[in-house]
Subunit: 249 residues, 2 copies
DNA sequence: GTGATGTTTCGGTCGCGGCCGAAGTCTTGG
DNA sequence: CCAAGACTTCGGCCGCGACCGAAACATCAC
């Protein structure tokens, strides 16, 4: 309840993320949707009282924002900057020695296509990313990316105008590490726009109670035809093996 | 001393950064140079024993790497990914309500030109970044960037071959928030290369015991002539005012 | 109104971990 | 070979904060 009158230090911010319960809540909020305190409590595995305390701290530090709606309180990440911190932490956390059984979504549906924050992840997202790169519609170098002029035309035809002034500071085109496939997929405003568009088009539909996406339009009149996906895009990508990380230095 | 056998969780990583002493050490290592345990102790303001414990934890979690050299032990950040976490945390930490007196380097020399990690910061760095953008040698959109073909020619003439295969995964061209001016300046491999080159050329010289850079070659045969800086590049940039952050949501 | 549900506040317990003093290991310099 | 310096290990103190039970508060359904 006490107001933070001046900015935080990086230690204060990190300390807040450093508690497992709070980290779980924040990770749950990376899904992009606002969640109620109760939902976050079950994600974190602690009681409602404890959750309430945690959320108050996070709100005090302006990591999450809260919106009252009836007897529910909906919490969401306050900005893309906060999501960026979590994403960077995930990269470092994932960069340790590989676990024996690759951690990540267990269900096949999740591995195939799911949402990640506000964009797509899973094999479909990787196939789209690869196809956009192969056709020079986007250029990814070292994890950052840009959209070519041809790409802008392509996306405009697809129903996304990338030239309209952005209302947010958020990067247009960047990559995000895919949990199940261990390779980067497309994120940023472009990644978010693509997800929004394919939902509007009815090519995918979010499954209730899960981040999985049901794919309803695959062939020539859908993903394969529009993006030029290869026929074997459903296969688990062995590039992940090539990109394997080395162990100890 | 206990070995971490599998990767960390994001909470574990954040928890390590969440201690003020460790955060100070890591922030000090953001300067890019490897520092001894003793130096880190003074940065953190704790005793050598305490520092030793902290560094052991950080090394265990593979956030820092250590190199023995005689009776000194030099510690450095283990990867650009770790630096990215710290940078993202700084952005969030800075995004609170603005402090009454803008936090940032107090000394005029630091505001004018200094090192930041391994590249340049301060008004000079911003002027260079702006000039490179104005001449289409680099293109920055939403915080990520790329070098144009003309830019590659320019940098080759300048003494930087950007086409040589990169030995690291590090992005070639990205931006980094400037603490004193509150605007992004050029970072990434390109930013680091420029700093290295202008030091080699003798245009700037690091000041002992400080991150400040002394500027020794300004005019036509130096920064202004080579990069095409405007004559008023020393003026505090009012773009920072325009980029002001909004307060509460 | 009463009861049910979602959330917060209060009070108290308890364990983790940061901290330092003292002592030990390793390296260098004389 | 000994002393000084850099760093680590050990042991113990102590405080912060995560946690939960109980109760209060808020909102909705009836």
């Amino acid at each position: 309840m006490s107001r933070v009158v001046s900015g935080n230090t990086i230690a204060e911010v990190a300390r807040l993320v450093g508690d497992p319960a709070r980290a779980n809540m924040l990770a749950a909020l990376m899904g992009g949707r606002a969640l109620t305190a109760g939902e976050l409590a079950s994600h974190a595995g602690v009681t409602a009282q404890t959750t309430s305390g945690h959320l108050a701290k996070l709100a005090d530090a302006r990591l999450v924002a809260v919106e009252k709606q009836g007897r529910h309180r909906y919490y969401r990440l306050v900005s893309a900057d906060v999501a960026e911190v979590l994403r960077a932490l995930m990269v470092v956390a994932a960069s340790g020695p590989p676990r024996r059984h690759p951690v990540g979504p267990r269900e096949a549906a999740l591995r195939l296509a799911r949402t990640c924050y506000d964009h797509m992840a899973g094999r479909l997202a990787l196939a789209i990313t690869d196809a956009l790169c192969a056709s020079d519609r986007i250029v990814l170098t070292d994890g950052v990316g840009m959209v070519s002029a041809e790409g802008r035309r392509f996306f405009r035809d697809f129903g996304l105008d990338l030239d309209e002034p952005s209302t947010t500071q958020r990067p247009l085109c960047r990559t995000c590490l895919d949990w199940s496939e261990r390779r980067p997929h497309l994120a940023g405003r472009l990644g978010a726009g693509i997800l929004r568009r394919v939902i509007d088009l009815g090519w995918v539909s979010p499954m209730a109670g899960s981040r999985a996406l049901g794919i309803t339009r695959i062939g020539e009149a859908g993903f394969v035809g529009s993006f030029g996906l290869p026929s074997d895009w459903r296969m688990p990508d062995n590039a992940a093996v090539r990109n394997d990380r080395v162990g100890a230095p």
